[in-house]
Symmetry: C2
Subunit: 346 residues, 2 copies
DNA sequence: GATCGCTGCTAAACCGCTTTACTAAAGCGG
DNA sequence: CCGCTTTAGTAAAGCGGTTTAGCAGCGATC
């Protein structure tokens, strides 16, 4: 009842284990007749090499790990990761690799890392002070970072967060907005500082706002989900200093803001302009379609996988220049006429 | 430079490998002093057990595989799978399991299965005649099927596809529609028949349409993507026998139909009613919000994982009753007045 | 006829861990 | 003081493959 092993095949075919192994991995080393016979017997017995045994002895598992700093249910609520996986997946398939999702187990990403039998890791949005990074170093497994700071040891794939954010803020500024709300990304994991990504985007917003002399924006941290965006909207000032433009660090949060605003009777974009970040596909179909900062997510995944595969081959690689972002203007933003008038009008 | 092994720790601590192993897996078997010492040395050396070696020797890898019949880039374009993973992930995290994505490698799902070191498989939308199923049987790895026919060997998690489809069609019928287009799901993999899911949904649509004596619908197969939905719309008859209601087997395709229709100047729902299937979150934000058949996707994932975990414990389980579906009526469907009048009016 | 180089195959070591079976020493009741 | 159970630890046998080193046979070469 138990699994067919290489020894079973060997004895059934009347050859050594070596011969069976050669039949699969190095067929030229066998005579034609025995090759056929071994393969035949293996097929009959339904033999397939045990992956773990293979991994142990070959020192490669054929798998790369995607390190996810949060629970799968929260991360996969954001289409961002689906897009990223599309990019990663393309490269994985091209190189015959499978993709292991590694979320924190038992609250600990470190212990999850240990358990994972992979040839390399792609880690998503880790803070530079996350302890998981030490473990990664220690293990000596090739790693590439996405959306966090690189190090000499590990290349990082990033986008021009600051530039994107700046463009978003300038867009709203040009439309006449002065009162802003900024929806900040939460830290990747509890007990850890906010991610470099969040910091850079915030810097971009601030830079634009400051240089235009806009009043200090209200900032609220919002998770990357529609519900979180909705909650964020509810916590915004509604009368005095009411923001007329909101800068969200994710499309999901922006969508949440829009629906909460609409539910409360506001019109988008007439009463409230909102701009997102990421440009996930869904942003094109929302009502109204979302103005947002586009980043090439699929490309990011593809690049990360490519870099990792290079590193796995032992090729040293440097972090590439940040991928460029661009503002895509749709219909969730519009000119803000005059805030006093508008307040009187309500 | 190479990895720290258990033997290194053992000799550094002046104990046997067994002792080191016990220190981690069976601490009670060691005296307090040695336990501390071994753990200390291990920490200093940065020792972590090799996962493949562990998996080999323990006969468990701590990961479950998600068998995906198509390329990751096509599957992850559909939020359905994100939702499913949220459900799976919840259970995985609860049981300290990681999740391995297993797409066809080199065009072959079978070979990908072999490579995967997992304790169990969840397979997505496999046709009953898919060769991958044989491999699964042969391997003797616990498996649960999602969206395909169960077998004595493997339980399957399904939803009431037929009932859901029927409800969708009846809804349109009640609104006065007579001319229908049905967007059929493509087969999971080339060279394979269409999936039981697609068949059941089609049956549901037909049942409702037939019993209402509606004219034969036009059916077109559309992939599960917005682009595929848009193409499907383009291939629909535009004048004679123009459908006024479209029944899509996925929300993504439905969204594609809507945008293509709107791009061609049609109003939704006034000129064309469309209903989707799945009720992915995005369907609530589209313009107009999509009428669709809701299925409990996260729950489906959760259930599949739960069943698999049972099976992995050696507990025999039966396929559960199909999960129920429900029609959620939003604004992409409306009453159809009279087709002749309408055509004249245009 | 000894030597050489192939071809075709195998024995055995190894990958790094777990676990079973066993031993030596210590504790303990009588 | 003696047999008996615990306690603390070890040696060695797996787990199921891959791979190195080497051996036997054999026709070609000199």
């Amino acid at each position: 009842m138990s699994r067919v092993t290489i020894a079973d095949v060997a004895s059934a075919a009347g050859v050594s284990k070596t011969a069976v192994s050669f039949a699969f991995n190095n067929p030229k080393r066998l005579g034609h007749a025995t090759l056929e016979r071994v393969l035949g017997v293996a097929e009959d017995l339904g033999y397939m090499p045990h992956p773990a045994a293979r991994a142990l002895s070959m020192r490669r598992s054929g798998t790369i790990g995607l390190l996810i700093p949060q629970r799968l249910s929260t991360v996969f609520a954001n289409p961002f990761v689906s897009e990223l996986i599309q990019g990663l997946g393309e490269q994985c398939e091209e190189h015959d690799l499978t993709l292991l999702l590694v979320p924190p187990l038992d609250g600990s990403l470190e212990s999850a890392i240990r358990q994972a039998s992979v040839d390399g890791f792609i880690s998503l949005g880790l803070s530079p002070d996350d302890r998981a990074l030490e473990v990664l170093d220690r293990l000596g497994i090739p790693t590439v970072l996405v959306d966090s700071d690189g190090s000499p040891a590990h290349p990082a794939i990033n986008i021009d967060d600051e530039g994107g954010a700046e463009a978003a803020a300038r867009h709203l500024l040009q439309l006449g907005h002065r009162q802003f709300a900024i929806l900040v990304l939460p830290p990747a994991r509890a007990q850890v500082n906010s991610t470099p990504t969040a910091t850079r985007r915030l810097n971009g917003y601030r830079k634009a706002l400051d240089s235009a002399g806009a009043p200090k924006p209200v900032t609220v941290v919002a998770g990357i989900s529609v519900a979180a965006g909705a909650r964020a909207f509810d916590s915004l000032p509604k009368v005095k200093d009411r923001p007329t433009g909101v800068l969200a660090m994710s499309d999901m949060a922006a969508i949440g803001v829009m629906s909460a605003a609409q539910a409360s009777g506001l019109r988008i974009p007439e009463d409230l302009s909102v701009v997102g970040f990421d440009d996930v596909p869904a942003s094109a179909w929302t009502n109204p379609p979302l103005t947002t900062v586009r980043q090439p997510i699929v490309e990011k995944g593809r690049l990360a996988a490519r870099f990792l595969i290079q590193r796995m081959k032992g090729i040293k690689v440097e972090s590439p220049a940040p991928l460029s972002t661009s503002l895509v203007v749709r219909n969730s933003t519009s000119r803000h006429i005059d805030s006093d008038l508008q307040i009187k009008g309500r």
